[in-house]
Subunit: 371 residues, 2 copies
């Protein structure tokens, strides 16, 4: 969807890298995140200040190869064992092994609902953490709760469901991939302990694989940096420079002194409003699909009331003879992701709202013809 | 060291990326490695054909965020549990937990000597694999041996030390980061099951974080791809295009029809010969340091006999009062990495031979003044 915008923006976000540039592993050895390009650090802070969706003062910026890597880095940093020396933790292992079975080996548990994160959490069978399912049915103190808001896949605004006493073992990670004005009104300047963002969802540059975390605590920031160091020895400099260029072009659009720069969030919101209206009309025309109700709020960025326009549609097949919505749609040449992947009823599917125009048009046309 | 070469090569390796390019997660959905840019695939194969250091026909190219990620991907792919469904393996866990303690939970073991890989292997405490120390003292069938040749840190040419019966559990991964003509004569076209390479060591572009694996078996290639998908959802497209451009410029230098293109391996070899000769002279002048003996062989690429010029010097302090060479050198303002990090005697240190000219000159001058 965003390709059209960037094609129209000319060379505002064009990047030129000479053969001899950014050859070193290091970007700024004085920074906690030593592989973060200073230009990206600046542009991340500038954009958050422009949009007002997250606090940046007093935060460390940690860059990752997409926000997936930072999600893992956060789990690593918040797991108590990761900090200490390995021999200490292997000494603990035997005594905790017989402990509470809802929390593997007595270690930090990770809780969240309706996410596609379990595979990422569990694929290495880490002894540090494991996926523990839906947070709302979790009991215990030793957990990491992932709060995804607006939520993937249903677009709902969420807050942590596990209230932890200060000083207890509970910790939260906020995935704010979709907390941008094209998807949702910016109702507050978020200031949680760990907040994750990505260019993939904010500007559309998924192939660049750049995410960033805003991290309040210096020790947590150091451990997350250590994870990325061990996992991939830092993050591509070329991609960081690209992301800095792209984020800079977005901020330019909302800077009074830059005249005529294209405005990404205006474009995105216009597109999303148009697409959601097409989709709702198609679902109504078919009579056999339903969608989450539209919600709205006052957006501090645009200074007007705006509807939520999620990047995914959480579509329900209401037809009585349809148990598996994804299969039903597949038989009509519509590819979606079954609700079952998100721990939900297979009568739900997740549909991307960010495809190219022609693909989205075909999808809507096919959907409206079903009944 | 390579920055000088790329500065002199003008715009041969300059990359221009318009704002709208490479936005998708996908590169080629028909390829096993669906996030590999076709241009990088081509340039990797072209360069290996030019140099003759590795077979590419019949191999899959898997791209990674540096070769570190591919090393982990290989461990994942070669661990028997990673393939099957997770429930099957957790059923096995209780019975294997009390098994052979030299191989954690009865799972695949990983063996290698004198490497800095243990931290990377163990940092997530994976239940799939663990670091098992020096391969030459390992007994058992269920292992993955890492063969690093030329070896880091001592530059020696190595072959697998664990001979496994065909069909048994033993597997090997060849790390060929330094198997390029500037460091060592190219004595054979390697054709092992999994071979790892990286632009960091071949062209000097460490900050680009691009490595690649040549993988013979399609199933292993698929599992390695799956690892990178779960770990970082693919690899930066921008970096891949950069690497393709750089590797293409290197091949151009040795193509008869491209006149006057700069020749990286000639530059690299000239530099390395010069630096090794300076270092040997300095060590001799001081009288208290020794270095591995120079070895040589016939290089099929240059068609002449050439010496090995490792990217690291494996320096020994011979002074009788020096137990810890790294501390001794640090007190004389020379920063090195202690042999202890590689499981070796702390009288050894590893010194990088690839720093910028001015830094290398200072190092050699300081070293020759010690006695």
């Amino acid at each position: 969807m965003y390709e059209e915008f960037w094609r129209e923006s000319g060379d505002a976000a064009e990047l030129v890298i000479p053969g001899w540039q950014t050859m070193s592993y290091f970007s700024d050895v004085t920074n906690v995140c030593w592989f973060l390009e200073p230009e990206l650090d600046q542009q991340v802070r500038r954009l958050h200040r422009t949009v007002g969706n997250a606090a940046v003062d007093g935060y460390h910026v940690i860059v990752g190869t997409g926000s997936t890597q930072l999600f893992m880095a956060a789990l690593y940093a918040l797991s108590p064992d990761a900090a200490g020396d390995p021999s200490a933790s292997s000494r603990q292992r035997p005594t905790t092994r017989s402990g509470n079975q809802s929390c593997l080996l007595g270690r930090q548990c990770f809780c969240c609902d309706l996410q596609s994160y379990p595979a990422v959490t569990d694929f290495l069978r880490s002894g540090l953490f494991r996926w523990a399912g839906d947070a709302s049915s979790f009991e215990g103190d030793n957990y990491i709760e992932l709060v995804c808001s607006p939520n993937n896949p249903d677009g709902a605004i969420r807050e942590a469901v596990l209230a932890s006493e200060p000083g207890a073992g509970g910790k939260t990670v906020h995935d704010f991939a979709y907390y941008w004005p094209q998807y949702t009104p910016i109702t507050e300047k978020a200031d949680h302990d760990i907040m994750l963002f990505t260019v993939s969802k904010s500007t559309g540059h998924a192939g660049t694989r750049i995410g960033w975390a805003l991290v309040k605590d210096r020790e947590v920031a150091k451990k997350m940096t250590k994870f990325v160091e061990l996992n991939t020895i830092g993050v591509s400099k070329d991609s960081q420079l690209r992301a800095a260029k792209v984020l800079g072009a977005v901020s330019d659009g909302y800077e009074a002194k830059v005249v005529g720069a294209p405005r990404l969030f205006d474009f995105g919101r216009r597109k999303m409003v148009e697409r959601w209206s097409m989709l709702r009309a198609a679902a109504a025309a078919s009579g056999v699909f339903s969608l989450p109700e539209e919600t709205s709020g006052f957006c501090n960025f645009t200074k007007e009331t705006a509807a939520t326009n999620p990047a995914f549609a959480w579509l329900r097949c209401d037809g009585e003879d349809v148990d598996d919505c994804a299969s039903f749609l597949r038989s009509h040449k519509i590819l979606t992701r079954s609700g079952a992947h998100f721990g939900a009823d297979p009568r739900y599917v997740r549909v991307s709202m960010l495809d190219r125009d022609d693909a989205f048009d075909i999808f809507v046309r096919r959907l409206s013809s079903l009944h």
